[in-house]
């Protein structure tokens, strides 16, 4: 356990000094600052104003940015480290492979989750200073969703990093995975597939196993509990899951998927050539 935390800490220190982390933190911190600057808290959407309005906008932007950011930075840095000889050297030290792999996973998770989370915390603190109400339930739910989605894509990233032998291939694969998930996010595509004879249950199943879609729908549920935006498909979600049940699914499923992918990654890593 000591070695796992040592590795996690080493990975955090490595990441904090990396350029990608500076860009990554700047993007999420910058989004919140820009949302305040552009007066998003004073504008109104579907009756929401203040921090609630800001969080809704923030989460929508996060859906677009977070998964691809986590995927690309993970595969580039992990596969890049292998290419550059970091694995060769650090794995010559007496550390177990499980402590090394899961330590890196943990360290990387902290690094990718914290800027996103701290940006939200910054918004909450600013709102508190201004004396406005803070929607704690919404804040906690969004925190859970962000945690789940970061964990999920980190797990996928770790799997890709172990399968690809070079940083370029890993980056290409990560893009393909992200674009595939993005493709099935498209309701029009799913609509066409249903029109062409795809059973509607299959379309729903695709949506329920696509972590991007799960995250997106859960974010909608939080500000539109009746899912009016989704139209008739909202019935399937609300009848089968209920509002709270769907949020629970949206947190549990990505976490399980990420853990599953990372576990396969660990198995491949353990069984193959390390550097």
């Amino acid at each position: 356990m000591k070695h796992l935390w040592l590795t996690a800490w080493a990975d955090i220190i490595e990441s904090l000094r990396a350029k990608w982390f500076i860009v990554y933190s700047g993007v999420f911190g910058g989004i919140v600052v820009l949302l305040f600057v552009f007066g998003i808290t004073e504008s109104r959407i579907m009756g929401f104003t203040g921090l609630t309005r800001l969080l809704i906008t923030y989460i929508q932007l996060t859906i677009a940015i977070l998964p691809v950011f986590v995927l690309i930075t993970t595969v580039r840095s992990v596969a890049g480290d292998r290419e550059a000889g970091v694995f060769e050297y650090l794995l010559s030290l007496p550390i177990s492979l499980s402590a090394w792999f899961w330590g890196r996973f943990l360290g990387r998770f902290i690094v990718v989750f914290l800027p996103v989370f701290l940006a939200m915390v910054g918004a909450v603190i600013w709102t508190a200073i201004k004396g406005a109400d803070i929607p704690w339930v919404l804040f906690a739910s969004y925190t859970g969703l962000l945690l789940a989605v970061a964990w999920c894509f980190l797990g996928i990233g770790m799997l890709i990093s172990t399968l690809a032998r070079s940083a370029d291939v890993a980056q290409g694969l990560a893009f393909v995975v992200w674009l595939t998930l993005l493709l099935f996010l498209d309701l029009i595509l799913l609509g066409i597939m249903i029109r062409e004879g795809l059973p509607s249950e299959t379309a729903v199943a695709i949506s329920l196993i696509n972590p991007l879609q799960v995250f997106r729908t859960a974010a909608m549920v939080l500000f539109d509990p009746q899912l009016v935006i989704l139209g008739p498909s909202a019935y399937i979600i609300l009848d089968n899951f209920s509002e709270a049940g769907y949020i629970l699914w949206a947190i549990a499923y990505p976490v399980l998927l990420g853990t599953f992918c990372a576990s396969i990654g660990y198995y491949v890593f353990k069984k193959g050539d390390l550097p």
Binding site: R17, E88, L91, S92, L93, P94, I95, K271, G272, D273
Partner: protein
């Protein structure tokens, strides 16, 4: 201590190790030589448990792949190319010492003997150090712990003559209790350090020979050189070895004095050979330590 039994390693369709058999015992100081692609790095990585392979590698009866921590606790490794680690020097030392169960002060002590100012460098990212500083730090981590097997891949390539001498002294302190496996493209770089030479070519051992090891790792050669005429290229080369010339008007630039580490003699003579045409007189006298 270390056994390679019919070790074969294939990358896709290329067989890099073709049934390697070796037996290495305590006290062996081995020069592992061979051209690029000979299989040296692959062999080292198999020994470090980093590669999967057919056959068997045993270190004190343990499998380095399955019993990594037991085996690697005894191995100090210096890679040819320093890894681009961004962590500060101080953290790298403490990280390595914690994993190895060693005292970081020992590593710091070795680093300072090699000429590194640890206090000044401890906050700097490892990747920002010069090539020589990186090499010294990796040597400190490998030698500043109770390693019974030292695997050194071109270890002295980036070191200045003073640091090379200290490095040889450090190796001398461990020579009876440790196995040393020193990889190099050129035998003359490491010949004086070793008592056994293993040459590899295309994945096989083509030469495994004991060599004369009367060279004292700790010795130095007090050296005087006279050249026929002042030569700019010679002056530049000899100054890299920290040689100084006479201050007399008649002999300035012609007579040079300095000290060469004992194990470095072949390398030094190799440098001198480039200026054979202008050499007039060479005197080398062996002394115990500097």
């Amino acid at each position: 201590m270390i056994q390679f039994n019919n070790v074969k390693k294939t990358f896709r369709r290329t067989e890099v190790l073709k049934g390697l058999n070796l037996n290495i015992t305590t006290g062996d100081r081995i020069a592992l030589v061979g051209s690029n692609g000979a299989g040296k790095t692959t062999m080292i990585r198999c020994l470090l448990g980093e590669y999967t392979f057919d056959g068997e590698v045993l270190v004190n009866g343990h499998n380095p792949r399955l019993e990594r921590q037991i085996v690697l606790k005894d191995i100090g490794f210096v890679p040819q190319l320093p890894p681009p680690l961004k962590m500060p020097v101080g953290q790298l030392i403490h990280f390595s010492a914690s994993l190895c169960g060693s005292d970081p002060q020992e590593m710091i002590h070795v680093a300072e003997r090699l000429g590194l100012d640890f206090e000044q460098l401890k906050s700097r990212p490892f990747v920002k150090l010069s090539g020589g500083q990186k090499q010294k730090l990796l040597i400190s981590i490998a030698l500043g712990r109770a390693a019974k097997i030292l695997i050194l891949d071109e270890p002295a390539a980036n070191l200045d003559p003073d640091a090379r001498h200290i490095f040889f002294q450090l190796l001398a302190e461990k020579k009876d209790e440790a196995v040393m496996l020193i990889s190099s493209h050129r035998l003359d770089e490491v010949a004086a350090l070793v008592n056994r030479v293993i040459e590899m070519d295309q994945g096989l051992v083509i030469l495994d020979d004991r060599v004369e090891d009367e060279v004292d790792l700790d010795s130095v050669l007090k050296t005087e050189i006279t050249i026929k005429r002042v030569d700019e290229a010679f002056t530049k080369a000899i100054k890299l070895w920290k040689f100084e010339t006479d201050t007399d008007f008649d002999t300035a630039g012609l007579v040079w004095h300095g000290v060469v580490a004992g194990p470095d003699r072949l390398r030094f003579l190799g440098v001198l050979s480039r200026y054979a045409a202008i050499l007039k007189y060479i005197h080398m006298e062996e002394r115990k330590n500097a």
